[in-house]
Symmetry: C2
């Protein structure tokens, strides 16, 4: 099976590339590779085909999708924080370019698209565990962009005979997560500890997040490779809510390194609670087992310490 | 109260302007008025202030919203049919420009926005009666544009301290509805009868629509004028589903004029069924009574016959 991964040199993307290679797929990765493989793909550069291009450029995208059976779409230029004061980036970059890609894919014989949406932002301010039938009420441009792209993908399912899987991923963490962005609290805290800066804790015991190890995400979303003739929308998380204060206690246990903490209120663009009901995707993946959170947190910290000279 | 109406010279817009005048509001209407009042507003031109400008132009919009307490937004450049093969018009014209307007309004002290969305397209392929808590699954770019604009309005409620009422209107009909567009089956059929062309009936007895007389729409959405300090999302329809075949029978009864009919299958962009549960808006409008459908259909036909030289 020919698999194209848009943004496959990113955090979740690169882990998915590894997973798909382990399944025996022919992998192409689309991104800005004018200087060759970027650091997240260096170790794989003999096993994959790199296609260098701009996502905004129609011809680049058309060349990349030619002959592909399925395309995974991981490209996103924003975060809830970065989108908060500028909704137009969301419209012009993420929504418009994604729709352009869907159109090109539908015209070039791609059978299926797998889109990585956001479980933490599309539902908005819901409390408790949310399944895929909860009314979407995003309140950040980032989350609005995600649900809008989902809707346009549904339009192309009807209009262009594409199949589409949509994955609303919770708080993914693990090696290679960018450490300098406001998104990804685990990477952000580890970066602060490494650089002996205060760990900034936004929120309180009611600030719940659903953490999932990045390799678990890669395996679960890999279920799209099983069949190119069905479509679905799936939450991808652990189903467990961990309070930000509880995460802090786990950090203190796992990371044997002193660090200082600054407690701050939730920011305007922060959701209060995200816990994803993931029964639907788990039914599709019999035998799947979640990684152990504390073990993987320790592994991530080890990785961050070893690679600090490259990534900091 | 200072009320600005964007697109107030359109079909629903001009009826709302009449209603708001009857309530004693100070009315300004924004649109393309370089040659003075357009035909839908000619009879009101002494009672309203016309502000000529382009919705795409930031300065024009900023000048128009200055000093306004509430702005009604009726501007839309597409229909489900016209959007079906070009989602980019929806993104570039309706979504982007509406968000630009929300931003300008929030920066210029507007207290509330009332947005006219679409009850017939935002919910998608649901059967039975839909209330406002039904999961939105639009499948036309037109419907996706509407729900996306709703989401961005919710964002500005949080980000910019705007209040916002969203009206998901069913199949409005009545005088001044454009007769040459594929949207608005009643106007379209009347146009065909007037010009002795076949009446095109898309669908069958399962093709249900929720018709509401345009003056009823104007009165119901006028409830936003009662309070500028609350927000809500409301279906605006009759709550009754009329099959397209039943509508045909009513036409034969009401319109004493022979006409030929061509039965055709539903088009790809047609929804099967739209019936709106309107309890929420009716609770806000005690004493409101719906117009009689057959009476208003006859009245609309009379209007269409009288004005044919102007409108055809």
């Amino acid at each position: 099976m020919n698999v194209l991964v848009l943004g496959g040199d990113g955090f979740i993307g690169s882990h998915f590339v590894e997973y798909a290679l382990s399944r025996g797929c022919q992998l192409s990765v689309f991104g800005r590779f004018s200087c060759g493989a970027t650091r997240n793909l260096e170790h794989l550069h003999n096993s994959i085909k790199l296609i260098s291009g701009e996502f905004a450029n129609r011809d680049d995208v058309a060349k990349a999708v030619k002959g592909q059976d399925i395309v995974y779409h991981f490209i996103s230029t924003t975060s809830p924080a970065s989108s908060w004061n500028d909704p137009f980036i969301e419209i012009d970059e993420n929504i418009r370019r994604s729709v352009q890609f869907f159109k090109i894919a539908s015209e070039h014989g791609v059978q299926k698209i797998a889109y990585v949406s956001s479980g933490g932002t599309v539902y908005g301010r819901h409390e408790g565990v949310t399944d895929e039938n909860v009314l979407e009420r995003p309140f950040t441009p980032y989350g609005i962009g995600k649900i809008t792209i989902e809707h346009f993908l549904n339009y192309y399912r009807e209009h262009g005979q594409l199949e589409a899987d949509i994955y609303r991923v919770g708080n993914a963490y693990g090696p290679r997560q960018p450490m300098h962005r406001p998104q990804g609290v685990i990477a952000h805290w580890m970066n602060s500890i490494l650089h002996e800066q205060d760990v900034l804790v936004y929120g309180d015991s009611k600030t719940l997040r659903d953490y999932i190890f990045v390799d678990d995400v890669a395996e679960l979303i890999g279920q799209s490779l099983e069949s190119l003739s069905d479509s679905g929308t799936y939450n991808v998380g652990s189903g467990q809510g961990i309070a930000v204060t509880e995460l802090l206690a786990i950090f203190k246990r796992v990371i044997k390194h002193r660090f200082s903490v600054r407690m701050l209120p939730r920011r305007d663009f922060d959701n209060v609670s995200t816990i994803l009901d993931c029964k639907r995707i788990l039914t599709k993946c019999p035998g799947f087992k979640f990684s152990n959170f504390e073990e993987k947190l320790a592994e991530t910290w080890q990785y961050v310490r070893n690679t600090k000279t490259i990534f900091s």
